[in-house]
Symmetry: C2
Subunit: 155 residues, 2 copies
DNA sequence: GCCCTTATTGCAAATCATTTGCAATAATTA
DNA sequence: TAATTATTGCAAATGATTTGCAATAAGGGC
């Protein structure tokens, strides 16, 4: 069983919480999904298994997981008000969002620690965490836009 | 006259737009304010000069400035749904938010370009922009929390 | 396995930042 | 100065997320 799911069981046990069918389903989706779904997207996926699942339950589950630090929520500039949720991996990771297709790619870098300490040193603040978001065109949309440009030139 | 304000005049002229008292007021505040106000905060400040100013006007002005790339809007993790607005400076800059007092400090770094090119090279995407947000305690809240800890130990 | 307690759910209504429709107002320009 | 129409203020709408509450169902004890 995955880290996420076993951790969730453990946290529930220690808090007197209950492992419901809804939570089990949402956890298994979050665990296997290689994406960063919105609450709504997660609901749609989950409803294939449990058509009565409610959006409130999705939100409550996500918020609980967030409080337990098993999931993190992020807002991207392209979708101002809609959060995307992400099972927290052991290592700190960052995001790239394609401004065209809105797909999110995770990435990792050792360079952020330098930025953190640079800022700590110059400001006197203590930095506990940080995140980077990059925007641009993903490889396939990049190809698409090159193709479009060619079309325009030819047409 | 500042860059922001003269730019705004220029854009309005070229679009057949009008420089109203409300816009002039909001621009002068945004221009001089060394902070990252929310729309509501901006309204409160502006109402000292024009008590009838409406929140819709503030939003419309901010969105127009954003579309003109003269102001940028950001969401921080600590305030999930409320945007903060920021007159765009000539150089790309990043943000630190104090998790205690919610104050925002801007900072600059040459290290992001390395992260961008690192990611571009490894992913095949083309990155057009990026932003870093750091969270932690600002110098004064840091002092406060040190003081608290001492209190706890002594008391 | 069945009962009891109460955590969790589904539903509908509430929130809250932001947006929009519209009639009234005020910048521009002729 | 008048005419045109961009912009405003107001109230109502929106849309993601949250919350109150009665109904349901985990999980512990019998």
């Amino acid at each position: 069983m995955s880290e996420l799911i076993s951790q969730a069981y453990e946290r529930l046990r220690s808090q007197g919480g209950r492992m419901t069918n809804q939570r089990r389903l949402l956890l298994s989706i979050l665990d296997s999904l290689g994406e960063h779904p919105t609450a709504e997207e997660l609901l749609l996926i989950a409803r294939k298994q449990d058509p009565d699942l409610n959006l409130s339950t999705v939100y409550r589950t996500l918020r609980w997981l967030e409080a337990e630090n098993l999931v993190s929520a992020r807002l991207f500039a392209e979708e101002r008000r809609q959060e995307r949720f992400d099972a927290v991996l052991p290592s700190e990771h960052h995001h790239f969002m394609c401004t065209n297709c809105k797909n999110v790619i995770e990435f990792d870098t050792e360079l952020l620690v330098d930025i953190k300490s640079q800022f700590q040193d110059s400001s006197g603040a203590s930095v506990s965490m940080g995140s980077i978001v990059l925007y641009g065109l993903c490889p396939s949309c990049r190809q698409g836009s090159v193709a479009q440009e060619l079309d325009r030139e030819v047409g």
